[in-house]
């Protein structure tokens, strides 16, 4: 019995990791609304944010169901505090300039797409189904972000410089996507979610190819930040939650 309970706990954690990452990135992307450098990007960013928020509803909805304590996706999104969030550190990085926003998106999409592909093979049908739906959306996200990284990396001198700076800044936050802990191991052993490091070859191949075409160079330093998946975040997340959760916290009994 004990292993079953543990697996349920791990499953809840794993689903929060997926749903919190899409929630936090969706929120960040939505901060651009009305402020993008061209109208087409306003439209694209809103679209990406919309997909990510939709995926959040599914992942956190399932997390609430698995947890079985009556919390739905909104309760998880709007009523947990910073240390209960399980998103990757990469996605809570502030938007920075448009180059940083794009680079963050690309580094995430390059992981997100193969991750969802692998999740389609989950032995939990609910997970496989969400992954298949999300995967169709994320294929477009990756196509767009990779294309723009290439065009701006191999663009003007200034766009190249900005994209290289973005890459240097964000690179140390990429390792966490492929690093395993006990939760990941339990989920991988049970065939529910892929082992994070199983995504690495695809991520590296894709990132290598795109950066090459973009004439950008990944930093040499191997140091990688971690902690987001376990609930140890940067200072930025608290400010985001203060904004995002404010109405729910200020009027806890209200229906919206």
């Amino acid at each position: 019995m004990e292993t079953v309970v543990k697996l349920d706990l791990a499953l809840f954690e794993g689903l929060c990791r997926l749903g919190d990452s899409t929630l936090v990135l969706g929120h960040r992307v939505s901060e651009w609304c009305g402020h993008a450098p061209v109208l087409e990007e306003d439209i694209a960013l809103a679209n990406v944010a919309l997909d990510l928020i939709g995926q959040t509803q599914l992942w956190l909805g399932l997390a609430g169901e698995v947890e079985g304590r009556g919390r739905d996706a909104d309760a998880l999104a709007f009523r947990r505090d910073v240390w209960e969030f399980r998103n990757l550190l990469l996605v809570e990085r502030p938007n920075g300039d448009f180059g940083q926003t794009l680079m963050r998106q690309f580094l995430f999409d390059a992981w997100h797409q193969p991750m969802l592909k692998a999740l389609e093979g989950s032995n939990d049908a609910r997970i496989a189904e969400i992954a298949a739906k999300a995967g169709r959306e994320v294929a477009y996200h990756l196509e767009r972000s990779a294309d723009l990284v290439i065009r701006l990396g191999d663009g003007s001198e200034e766009s190249h410089k900005r994209m290289q700076t973005a890459l240097d800044t964000l690179w140390p936050y990429t390792g966490e996507m492929m690093a395993s802990d006990a939760t990941d191991c339990a989920l991988a052993e049970a065939g529910v979610m892929p082992a994070p490091d199983s995504i690495r070859p695809q991520w590296e191949a894709l990132v290598g190819e795109v950066l090459g075409e973009a004439t950008l160079k990944a930093p040499e330093s191997a140091y990688m930040h971690k902690g987001g998946k376990q609930g140890t975040h940067s200072e930025h997340l608290g400010h985001m939650l203060a904004t995002m959760q404010w109405l729910q916290r200020a009027y806890p009994d209200a229906k919206w």
Partner: protein, 325 residues
Amino acid sequence: MYAQMVKSEATTEDPEKLAAFQARIDAGEKIEPKEWMPEGYRKTLIRQIGQHAHSEIVGQLPEGNWITRAPTLERKAILLAKVQDEAGHGLYLYCAAETLGVSRDELTEALLSGKMKYSSIFNYPTLNWADIGAVGWLVDGAAIMNQVPLQRTSFGPYSRAMIRICKEESFHQRQGYDIMMKMAQGSPEQKAMAQDALNRFWYPSLMMFGPSDKDSVHSAQSMAWKIKINTNDELRQKFVDQTVPQAEYLGLTIPDPELSWNEEKGGYDFSEPDWSEFFEVIKGNGPCNAERMEARQKAWDEGAWFREGLMAHAAKRAARKIAAE
């Protein structure tokens, strides 16, 4: 209805050509971009479509102000979808304007330099969550009132853009009203937010139709050309008649003590908005004019490297293609 106070241009062309042009319009034909049209018609349309497009773009800002604070995931998704639609409307409208010989960049520069305007309504702030409901219900409601007849406007690309836009706007209005319902049926604080939103947005919404146009020659020319279909007063009356029962259903009070049903005219009598406030807002003295323009200017300036980078890449790619051939 994001085009207010658009003055039509005088036209000095050959009277025979003008008469033939007018006959086509009177016969209900659509004018297409490559066909002959009076310069006044072209210029008036550029101004009107451009102003409408700018309004869609600036209109993202007051609503975008609440995307990061939307109270549920579903509300956030709906609002994102709505604001994305607005950006899409801006895109169709800029494209429609481009068929008249003006580029999107030229129109953007005219907006940023203050030569072109956008609807005065977007210079009002969104201060509580019910404002997002009120914007959908009242502002999009007023927009639809104006845009439904514009589906029949004489210029083909504008008319077709309006048909598409109207479909989406009616969804926007419904989602706005849905937020108002939730708020009006909610806790005492939520009801107070709903009433507060209505109080602040009522008169600015009435202003969206522009001042009374009974004395305007410009309006008469635009109506003859079917660039404008109804008078401002007709549309405003229609809007009030539609909206008052909706407010009653919500249990909210329209902030107009003079509001009363007039049996004889079959419509409501209501107070005029404060037109001096309207002209101040148009002049740039509304509560948010400075912020709205600052935000657009910042997006344009800070996006310059992005746009230039893409152009540089396109040039490199073209050069490589030529070299390979």
